[in-house]
Symmetry: none
Subunit: 382 residues, 4 copies
């Protein structure tokens, strides 16, 4: 049986996976290092009867996909740091109105225009806290092209399941690197379709009344039912309210629907964790170097293990605590000032055993960088 | 001697303090609950020869003040959550280009348009992490009108001292409440003036070469020197570079100039901390209820103390650890899902003794809410 | 084989179990929410040749069963808070004279007439300390109808084994709720019969001389032997004495015969205790909500465990300490101001980790009440 | 100036103090060792126009004084253990209906009729928990006749201030011993008079609506206003309710009005506490031996101190913790199985350093008993 194997950039893998997951509407504004996503979709979407729109900026882009999603489409936009900052207001609107959408941030060096063509993982905390107000969010990442495919499909499934924006937090190395990827056959990966209401026209439809399982059936906007969609706190009809009980209930719903499903949302890979004295925790392209280090040092008898996080938010706190329970050292490998390292410190029982191996200069972190940190924390000096 | 005493809203106090500090340029777009700041400045600025511009939106507003600051003015804008989200990209630009400016966020309930007229403290983490990329930031807050005056003056001083945007994170209760405030006489509070370069025209001016003390003399843009200002990583002349050493040096400079001065930037008040079994940590309007609780429970013999934070970022980690060292319980009182509580957990030696007394329904947190949590953490139930 | 399955109220289960255990004399005065016990026994006892007497009040009721027990019958009375208060003097008499009897208190809201038809667990400490003077007591409870059956049989067995009043501390929810119960076949549960003296008539019988195993054989009053029964301190013949040595010996005997058999008397159930980070301790109907919470939160990955106490007095101190040894939090779930929570604090090594999840308003405590406390003690606020 | 000095029994001191405090109604039933209180009042009350009634039993006695108090009188009854057990139901009624009254329990050995003429302090826990349901209570005690006078006056003052039954927990030694006492002049001790409502007839009087300071003005029953008095949970008009909010509010009011004033209610004496390595805690007649021991051992250079509690309930937890903070050993001296010792363990930071020096045989505890315990806990053996 011939398999559909490609040797392509990560950005193109993301495109193929999005189409596989059912994407049929994309709006975006080009920005390095995410531009190839828009480029490829500009070609691919019309071929399958989908819509591609280049918008005037990133605010317009996210607003367009929110609207399209509400009318029943599976939607995505893609950008990098500066564009992602511009999207923060509308991202909050999608959170509040519970509209499924996928936002790709192929990270480059920040802040500001920063380092357009260099790698960074500096937007991890922004992905969590970039919009105002308490809220929960889902952010996925990947280190290999096969994983880029899988988490992209996952992103669409999670967006539909929980009616939430999902952020795909890739980085310049993953986006631009070419690597082998096998495109699954149709049906090979499970797809979650839009949950539509079964309420008939002319009957009371409560757009914001969750079912018992917490899911919220939608009605394509402009079709059978008329209803209100607002970024204000709203009741089960979608109409604004400042009733404290409803306000608290809605905020808790928005947070709990994500955070209470952390186990279902969490994706990770592990390597030699069981007997590891030292656990490396990493994600995205940095995890490639971490994995490399673990395999090489194991060959020399060092009890290293790897926990590769593929979902960063909601943070898999219990998983991290559990996997690190017997480690003497935990080293977080990432390309920022320790955004996930701080989160790991909060998760584990002994924050003092958490160390950071990082790079913040636009260069890709590599095995020697990590080995250097391992020496120092073992008291072996430079 | 007659004193200048007023009974005004917190938003108006902020205006008076900004003018006292030397504000002469304001650009903004009205949004509840910050609107009174713009309203009052629209009247007051022209009276003193300053400029007030109502812009078409919040992006334009922050861009206008950044530009005005670069030409030598003391500048401010004011907004609330949704507008603050829109400002995130340009805020990062001000961070990267090191342009002094003050951004007021009078917080209301979020996410999205949320609860325009109700109180919240939900934007604390966004203030820290709203823009993309690693960076440091200064955010101040206050619980009384006298403190609003003082921290507003401080905000301008810090912005000039460290060439950084400073966020004034007020909230709806502080902004709209009327309270007695005594306007200091001119000269009573120290003011930091713009540090201008002494480099003469026609001579090499290095706009991004810090002095030995870390401060960076400015030259009014459009005046004596021509130089480049960019959001890209840049060298001492302000020109773009991706040289890893310069990139790392600039990022560390941007972060260290703030975080290494945490002691100079930190503002706080304390009450009965010395012998407190239970330390309440609070800020903004929530601290009013915390203070009330401490005073009332002390009268009943309970050893409560209060640490009121007036600077949230950079987070005064050492201060919090020290003040909480002998406390059996630490209760963070805030109107969000525990944004500062999580930060306190990271600061103290025993995270398990940190609890959260919060409200997230748009209602002002009050003494009974705090007492309820105190009862439960003392094992006393309802 | 067909089983005897019923769908009845807890009060009726108590009746069936008492009859199963050999009850043949009941005296009582009706009071909500215990009345159904008297009602059903008024029908059932005559059917089996037993005696049912409705007395003029609760004092007469307990005095009648004490007398009947002394003549050789298995006896019970049933009441609620106010009636239980009235029984305190005679209860002490039964303690001092070591007369087996079972007293059911189907708790309602107190103090005073309180809340006749609402649930409470407010009489736990009264059960221990309601009568004057140092003494020990046995009090059992249950959360399901099958357990009501079992502990009721146990109560009769313990009363006979240790010659002591045994209190069945049920509550309104358990008493009035209908639930499936399977009545065991005769012989399925072990029954303890009255230990009668083998001393012949005309020979010296020492009614208050314990055997080597501490048990005290009885002689049906009015039958073979004449002897003295008094509430005063007494010697082995039952005659009053104030000899300090005998006084101290008798008081220690009364206490030790119960407290030294705490392991034999203790009944409990546990769920997921082994690896629980947080142990809920509960009893009576409250344990239903605690169990529900544990099961639901386990499904979400939270390491909750349940220790359900079915004997409250003598308090199973060692059991509680052992089961809670590795828990980070212990939450006592009960419907009072923390009567058992205080006792748990005394039992465990770290009283500070004991919290109270309670309701005191006559409403049944439910999962959301418990979850709220769990949130707060984990520092997560509302 | 001649002083009014007497050499009388403690029971008679109690009578004189009650009259001094304004007692004008007593109902009782004689029981050793409290009988002298009734005897003396039978003579003294008619002399001052008060009423003395001998009732048919203790239930009638407490009900009579509750009714008389409601009509505006200062009232008292006196009993010992068995009678106190009989009073438990009506005591709860007085708690619930907030009717000021004083109940004297001159303790003898229990349980049951126990040791009528011998000393004990076995009713301490019953005083706290004898009636059913959660509630708070005030119980005072004394070791010298001068203190008996003072705490008796206090009892009436507290009863009126907080509208609560107050228990005077004396013991056989204090009651029967003769000792010098100086009766204060009128006006020398402050007296609290009944707080009567100022609401006029025909106007809405809310008998159960506390003032802002928590006090509840009364209206003499049968006089100006008609209102309902019930042992059921009731609203501000005194009418029954099972509204959960009102139920919880009332229960918390009943408990908080006492427990929140623990500092005002607490009475104690101390001796050499400041530098004590070993603190004796005692109360009632046992404190006489404890004081004797401290004075004698201090003369030999042993750093003993005494904390004599004169109020047992609400338990002065903070006081005990504070006074014991620097002690290496804490020895509770009492004549029971450690009822207050257990409470002290809960109050202090290190329960392991709390020991019990007691007697339970009807004999008065003396210095040699205490010295023996001191030797053992210092590792010196018997």
């Amino acid at each position: 049986m011939s398999r559909n194997i490609k040797f392509i950039q990560g950005n193109e893998v993301c495109v193929e996976a999005a189409l596989y997951a059912g994407l049929d509407f994309f709006a975006g504004y080009p920005i390095t290092p995410s531009t190839e996503i828009a480029e490829h979709l500009a070609q691919r979407l019309p071929q399958i009867g989908g819509r591609f729109i280049q918008m005037e900026d990133e605010i317009a882009s996210i607003c367009a996909i929110i609207g399209a999603s509400l009318t029943g489409h599976k939607v995505m936009t893609a950008t990098s740091g500066p564009g992602f900052s511009l999207m923060q207001e509308a991202l909050g609107y999608a959170v509040m109105t519970e509209i499924p959408c996928v936002i790709v941030n192929v990270q480059r060096g920040g802040p500001s225009t920063g380092l357009p063509t260099q790698v960074s993982q500096g937007d991890v905390m922004q992905a969590r806290w970039g919009t105002h107000g308490d809220h929960a969010i889902v952010a996925l990442t990947a280190s290999t092209h096969q994983d880029v495919f899988d988490v992209t499909v996952d992103a669409f499934n999670i967006a539909e399941t929980y009616r939430t924006p999902v952020i795909l937090l890739f980085d310049e190395v993953v986006g631009h690197m070419r690597e082998r990827v096998e495109i699954p056959e149709p049906g090979e990966l499970e797809l979650v379709q839009r949950l539509r209401t079964s309420v008939k026209g002319g009957v009371d439809y409560h757009p914001y009344l969750p079912r018992e399982d917490g899911r919220l059936p939608m009605s394509d906007f402009g079709a059978l039912h008329r209803y209100n969609v607002t970024g204000l706190y709203h009741d089960m009809w979608g109409f604004p309210t400042d009733n404290p009980k409803i306000v608290q209930g809605l905020l808790r719903h928005l947070i709990d629907k994500i955070n209470n499903h952390v186990n279902q949302i969490t994706r990770y890979k592990e390597l030699y964790i069981e007997d590891a004295d030292c656990v490396l925790i990493s994600y995205g392209s940095a995890a490639r170097s971490a994995r490399h280090t673990v395999i090489n040092r194991r060959a020399r008898g060092e009890k290293l293990g790897l926990l590769e996080l593929q979902s960063l938010w909601p943070f898999p706190e219990d998983l991290v605590r559990e996997k690190c329970a017997r480690a003497k050292h935990i080293v977080v490998v990432e390309m920022n000032m320790g955004q996930i390292a701080r989160r790991v410190k909060m998760a584990v029982d002994t924050p003092d055993k958490v160390f950071l191996a990082n790079r913040i200069d636009g260069s890709f972190i590599s095995e020697p960088d990590i080995k250097q940190v391992l020496r120092i924390i073992r008291g072996k000096g430079v």
